[in-house]
């Protein structure tokens, strides 16, 4: 027992591995229930219009059509995930009087097959009266802009203010001040499995929903509200999910319409959104325009930052309000700004709603912040790594009034990246390395959803043979939480990973969990699982101590299936035997361990933060502006590594996604219409475009996390766009302040630079 841990930190096969590589994993997309119907949703072709009338009679009469629903079939409620704030619950899902973007649902059909359902949509006659519309946040906040939601002044949906220190005074003391403007674009989650749900309402008034969701608990609760049902009568099951990335934890049109249709006719209904619907009628990354002012002393100490962000909210609130908050908070990361001010505004527009997406406002903040740090370093004549060292966060740092940071390995990461860059030596012409530093949260503390439950809970149940059933509401959406949580449970209980069978995210049998977002599962649910395992372990040890007749001065522990005296490991009994005897000894009562976790006294944002620094090397074609990603090196720390293969996968995947955000992923619009709603036109990084990746793990230990672990996955999306922008500047001397960084933008900026230089001569 020389190594510290038996299970965690080891390379293991994921617990869902074999079913995924053999094609036997059944996703929501694959579910076929007896007597099931297929649903399709009719959506608004207008960006803004009054619904004058909807005539569904022809569709209803069509052979093979079993139900048609519109707003008339609902209980006329509006929903939103910010439940604490009724004014932010603004989405009917099935629109009653007004549509607000191209894709807003107006009706849904259940039919014998998808062909029939789609044909039936063509028979629904909707009379619209087009209304004036507004398509960008800067237009939306003008005095005379059309109103997206009645009574919302200047279309301002939410505002956010964060401030500490005395920013105005501090700027007076700065030697260098610069102000820059940045534009961050949208991005599609582009989950491989589109949004889908199968709903089955029974004659006895119970509803079961299989959903491709990141938070089965949210789906359950929000559906209950929208259907006028009790939460307990709704069971939401999350089968394997084909990706989420922030796009699947709000109630969506597939879930709601499938449930509503099923409730109307007591037959199962499955709805799978098409790829086009996925692009145009779900949610997307929040586009933001920023003005950022930063001031520093000659020695590189940054005294003040003042940043304003205006986000394009699209038609509804969703999780967009949180993105507005987090982009303001993470604009202060990972530096010790003594004086800081953020003003954020979220404006409604007549476009597809914007919301959470991996990084949650932070990739945008880092694109802005890390470019500006490089720019001011240049103004000051200070090395980019050095200025980050001077100002970087340290362990036990308090973000004034906001957050308390315990573990922080930023400086070690900076050292590693510094060494790497120095090791590369002089680069050829038109090559450049750019750096970006970042920090990210391990789950959110904010409870705008107003859940009365603990944020995470877990139950461990032991079988007579010592095998373990783990019940938790955590949602594995591909990131691997089922494996991580099973590893934590196995480690704590002292059994093999193969002894654990996890049952996750089925609201009828698992305790509530807020789901997979904000990088919360490892820390929050991990703590709950660890506590549940510890609870079960305590019960076994009680029995073992009595059975072994151990002097009470000794501590017992369990590891690798043995219960032993901590200071005399040779005195041991089999865990499996003891469990069998313990259950018999307790009159057959099942051994159940319970655990839960809610952060307390950890500030306003998150109980823990992870940090990292990324260096990206790019090569720019000076004649065309085409940029190639050569290598991405990331030094990062995420506390104790639970599942190393999982972290590598998260990191490389983050580079694919964040690199895409920087390079090619965008959703350009013409008057509110997304111009590339197909994978032929929406470009994502593929294997030939993917750069080499290197990971440098930095050791830290997070006291708040299970076995010292914290976030590893979402934060890794943050640095890449900023690092690439810095790399382009270092390669060819141009600053690109808007995303994505296309060859055309680089080319045009280079032309402009040449023209300026010529003029200067």
């Amino acid at each position: 027992m020389s190594e510290k841990y038996s299970v965690i930190g080891k390379n293991v096969h994921r617990v869902d591995g074999t079913e995924k590589v053999t094609g036997t994993a059944k996703y929501t997309f694959d579910i076929v229930l007896p007597n099931m119907l297929y649903g399709k949703i009719l959506r608004s072709p207008y960006t803004s219009a009054k619904i004058v009338s909807i005539d569904t009679s022809k569709a209803e009469k069509m052979e093979g059509v079993y139900a048609v629903v519109t707003a008339k079939d609902t209980i006329h409620k509006k929903q939103g995930i910010w439940r604490r704030f009724p004014e932010l619950c603004d989405e009917e899902i099935l629109c009653s009087t007004k549509v607000r973007y191209i894709g807003d649902p107006v009706a849904a059909v259940a039919a014998i097959d998808e062909y029939t359902a789609e044909e039936a949509l063509n028979l629904i006659e909707v009379e619209y009266e087009p209304l004036p519309a507004v398509y960008s946040q800067l237009e939306a906040i003008k005095e005379d802009a059309p109103q997206v939601h009645d009574g919302v002044e200047l279309n301002i949906n939410v505002t956010r203010h964060i401030e500490w220190g005395d920013v105005d005074e501090a700027f007076k003391e700065c030697d260098v001040i610069r102000e820059d403007h940045f534009v961050c674009s949208s991005q599609a989650h582009m989950c491989m499995e589109t949004h889908c749900a199968a709903a089955s309402y029974s004659y006895d008034g119970k509803l079961t929903v299989w959903a491709s969701t990141q938070a089965s608990y949210y789906t359950q609760v929000l559906l209950a509200g929208m259907l006028g049902m009790r939460e307990g009568d709704i069971r939401v099951i999350k089968p394997p999910v084909g990706g989420g990335f922030g796009g699947k934890f709000e109630l969506d049109s597939a879930q709601f319409c499938a449930a509503l249709l099923s409730k109307k006719i007591c037959r199962p209904v499955r709805i799978v959104l098409t790829r086009e619907e996925e692009f145009t009628a779900t949610k997307r990354r929040t586009p933001i325009v920023y003005t950022s002012r930063i001031g520093a002393k000659k020695d590189g100490t940054i005294l003040a930052k003042e940043i304003r962000g205006i986000t394009d909210g699209g038609a509804y609130t969703g999780m967009g309000a949180t993105a507005l908050y987090l982009t303001g908070f993470f604009s202060s990361f990972p530096y010790k700004y003594p004086n800081y001010r953020y003003d954020g505004y979220r404006a409604y527009t007549n476009t597809e709603p914007t919301s959470a997406m991996r990084g949650f406002g932070a990739p945008q903040a880092v694109f802005v912040g890390e470019q500006q740090i490089d720019l001011i370093a240049k103004d000051l004549g200070i090395d980019p790594i050095e200025i980050r060292r001077i100002n970087g966060m340290v362990p036990n740092y308090e973000v004034p009034g906001q957050a308390f940071i315990q573990s922080c390995g930023l400086h070690q990461c900076l050292d590693k990246i510094d060494n790497y860059i120095k090791g590369r030596g002089k680069l050829p012409a038109n090559r450049g390395i750019g750096v970006a530093a970042y920090g990210f949260m391990s789950g959110g503390i904010f409870n705008w959803f107003d859940t009365p439950y603990a944020f995470s809970s877990a139950i461990v149940k032991l079988s007579i043979d010592g095998k373990v059933d783990l019940f938790t509401g955590a949602c594995d959406i591909g990131q691997g939480s089922d494996t991580t949580l099973s590893m934590i449970t196995a480690e704590e209980l002292g059994v093999k990973l193969s002894d654990i069978r996890i049952h996750a995210a089925d609201t009828a049998i698992c305790p509530a969990d807020l789901g997979a977002w904000g990088s919360r599962e490892t820390l929050m649910n991990g703590n709950a699982c660890k506590m549940a395992a510890a609870d079960a372990k305590r019960q076994i040890i009680e029995f073992a101590a009595a059975k072994m007749g151990v002097n009470i001065v000794h501590d017992l522990d369990i590891r690798d299936g043995w219960i032993y005296l901590a200071d005399r490991p040779e005195r041991k009994v089999s865990y499996y035997d003891i469990v069998r005897e313990a259950i018999r000894g307790r009159d057959g009562e099942t051994i159940i361990g319970r655990g839960h976790y809610t952060p307390h006294r950890k500030g306003m944002i998150s109980p823990a933060y992870s940090f990292g620094v990324q260096a990206v090397e790019v090569d720019v074609d000076p004649e065309t502006g085409k940029m190639k990603l050569i290598n991405v090196v990331t030094a990062h720390e995420s506390g104790t590594v639970i599942n190393p293969i999982g972290i590598t996968g998260q990191l490389e995947g983050a580079i694919m996604m964040a690199g895409g955000y920087a390079l090619c992923e965008d959703q350009p619009m013409d008057q509110g219409k997304i111009l590339n709603p197909s994978l032929a036109d929406y470009k994502v990084i593929r294997s030939l475009d993917m750069p080499k990746t290197e990971i440098i793990e930095v050791d830290t230990y997070e006291p708040e996390g299970p076995f010292g672990a914290k976030e590893a996955g979402e934060g890794l999306t943050n640095p890449t766009a900023g690092a690439i922008a810095n790399a382009v500047r270092n390669a060819v001397g141009v600053t690109i302040t808007s995303l994505p960084i296309t060859p055309e933008k680089i080319f045009m900026a280079m032309q402009e630079k040449k023209a300026k230089e010529k003029k200067a001569k």
């Binding site: 044909e119 065309t624 085409k626 590339n676 470009k683 593929r686 030939l688 060859p743």
Partner: protein, 290 residues
């Protein structure tokens, strides 16, 4: 969703031509289907009859005819061309082009005849075929006709094929000695359609004078086009970098690109300029080596 249709799967060219003649008014030919099925699913095409020619084995071949050049059956897949041993000398460019075309699955299934018949001005094969001076053979019940590849593409997704006609063969003339050809395409994601593409084929005399040059542009006009002004600058001269630059400029001026979400018209012209010079230089160095 695809609207249902009558399906025909002829196994010989003759059977196919008879079907084309019979359903003259409303049919679509499907070969590999890599472009057509998308249009069917979008509901933009709703043909009554679909004639699936993929099973016509007699149109799947690559034949080298020594001095006469190369003949490629219309139903030869991209993959077969990509890995064919016959793609030697200045024909090597065909295999290089195919390697850049879309993704492995598309290359496995899609055919060269299907690709050029689809008439997408951003398609990869057409500019290369034009640069190599290819002819296409069209067949109908009335007989066959041979058309210069340049005249085959007419407009966006339009070709010179008449109703009742289908493409059966691509003929590539044997290149004179000291001929080299190269192809390049600009895109952001490797497997993507071209933002702009350029193919160039250069023939040099013993003293390195350019005796012939053919430059073709993709995605730079409503159809793949020859950059004849650029060619005129180079023909009969010893090609220098300065001359290449001039040719690039000329190509950029004669191109007719439009702005779209991938690139502006202005940027496309820049790309034509740069790529024309680059790829012609490469073709030239291959000609020298050849």
């Amino acid at each position: 969703m695809i609207k249902d249709f009558e399906y025909f799967g002829p196994k010989t060219l003759n059977e196919a031509l008879v079907l084309l003649d019979k359903y003259r008014d409303d049919y679509k030919i499907i070969a590999g289907g890599q472009s057509l099925i998308i249009l069917l699913r979008q509901g933009l095409l709703q043909p009554e009859n679909v004639i699936d020619i993929y099973g016509i084995k007699e149109l799947d071949y690559i034949k080298s005819d020594g001095k006469k050049g190369l003949k490629i059956g219309a139903l030869t897949t991209h993959r077969e061309i990509e890995y064919s041993d016959l793609m030697k000398g200045s024909f090597k460019v065909l295999s290089e082009m195919e390697h850049l075309l879309s993704t492995p699955q598309t290359r496995n299934r899609g055919t060269i005849g299907g690709n050029i018949s689809h008439g997408d001005p951003a398609g990869d094969p057409a500019p290369v075929l034009m640069a190599l001076g290819a002819n296409v053979k069209l067949a109908s019940v009335a007989g066959e006709r041979i058309l210069d590849m340049e005249k085959f593409s007419v407009d966006y997704f339009e070709t010179a094929m008449e109703h009742g006609e289908m493409l059966v063969e691509i003929e590539l003339p044997a290149p004179p000695p000291h001929t080299g050809a190269a192809y390049t395409k600009f895109n952001i994601i490797a497997s993507d359609m071209a933002t702009v593409s350029v193919a160039s084929c250069v023939t040099l005399a013993a003293d390195d004078t350019c005796t012939d040059v053919r430059i073709a542009l993709g995605a730079a006009a409503p159809r793949p086009m020859r950059a004849k002004a650029a060619e005129a600058i180079l023909k009969g001269k010893k090609i220098t970098d300065a001359l290449l630059k001039k040719a690039g400029q000329a190509a950029s001026e004669e191109a007719e690109p439009v702005s779209d979400i991938s690139a502006s018209e202005e940027y496309r012209r820049e790309l034509v300029k740069v790529l024309t010079a680059r790829v012609t230089k490469e073709a030239m160095s291959r000609a020298k080596a050849g």
